[in-house]
Subunit: 190 residues, 2 copies
């Protein structure tokens, strides 16, 4: 048995939002990829924005799950954070959530911006908890600002995507996260 049409529409939108963003994705593109007709989309959803909202919520769920897997790796707090940094995949594709911040239509539409803001905020907070744990266990120095450190870690990944996409070369991403990992190791060894 096949997947139902509504699900295929959300899945196709989810992929296209990641590849091209919101403004650059037309209903026609979505219908083509989903193998559905015009009527199906407007039956299941109020329109492009409504469908994109559903798709973004799915993107958010996938991203949270990915982060959970990376941070659940074996080892100390710093090893877990470094695993988050270094085990990102598809650095040329960029971040499905982060890329939305440069899409004017998303910024102007609260329903679309909301899942993006909330998910990135959640990633920072989640990594900050891992770091705080490391402070409690004296792996990181007392007085470490976990929120600042976690923000820097997430920003390095997000910015690494930008650098890699600009050069069309994953090595630019790798260099940035390697730099961050080195500084983190040094911080935990203080």
């Amino acid at each position: 048995m096949g997947v139902d049409t509504r699900t295929r529409l959300v899945e196709a939108t989810h992929e296209l939002l990641w590849e091209r963003g919101y403004a650059a994705t037309s209903p026609k593109d979505i219908l083509q990829r989903a193998g559905a007709g015009q009527g199906s989309m407007y039956h299941h959803f109020a329109g492009k924005q409504d469908l994109a909202t559903a798709a973004l919520e799915q993107s958010a769920a996938v991203m949270r799950a990915d982060v959970d897997v990376l941070l659940a790796s074996e080892g100390s707090s710093s090893e877990r954070v470094i695993a988050y940094l270094e085990r990102q995949r598809d650095s040329l594709r960029g971040c499905r959530m982060g890329r939305m911040t440069y899409d004017a239509d998303v910024l102007a539409t609260p329903e679309l911006l909301h899942p993006v803001a909330e998910t990135l905020q959640w990633v920072v907070a989640t990594i900050a908890r891992v770091i705080s744990r490391g402070v409690e266990e004296h792996e990181f120095p007392t007085g470490t600002d976990a929120h600042q450190l976690a923000s820097m870690v997430v920003a390095t990944v997000q910015g690494g995507y930008v650098l890699a996409r600009a050069q069309q070369d994953p090595a630019a991403f790798d260099a940035a996260v390697a730099g961050a990992a080195e500084l983190l190791r040094n911080w935990s060894a203080r």
Copy 2:
């Protein structure tokens, strides 16, 4: 006497590319902001892409000049790099070059991608030179990978923009660069 029409067109495009990106900026928007008519644009330029190429080259020049000013601050190598991190302005606006990496039309057009790739590459290399200087002067430990560290610094800024735009709050940017600055100070104190 006023500025000539061609210059106003480039300037208006430069602003709009920064605010909205390439795909989301229409010739109509540009003409309106520049106070020019349809004919002027197609007289001075072959079309939207040609005009955008000129505007992006101007954006690149502005960005290089800004970086030069920040890195020319007084002090040690680490102080200069930290000045680059902390004295960024307009964190909600994002980076005029970096934002282009999420614009599909730019990625698909070599003439548009080229100035973006080259400028970001230049920023990384320029910061790497400051760091290398710091290594020579024993401010940073021997064996420091200047390219990796510089990549991480630039990525933190680029990613800081993403985080701040997602939250619509400059504090998210500030937290990321503060984290990076703290780790850098610690690295130079090794």
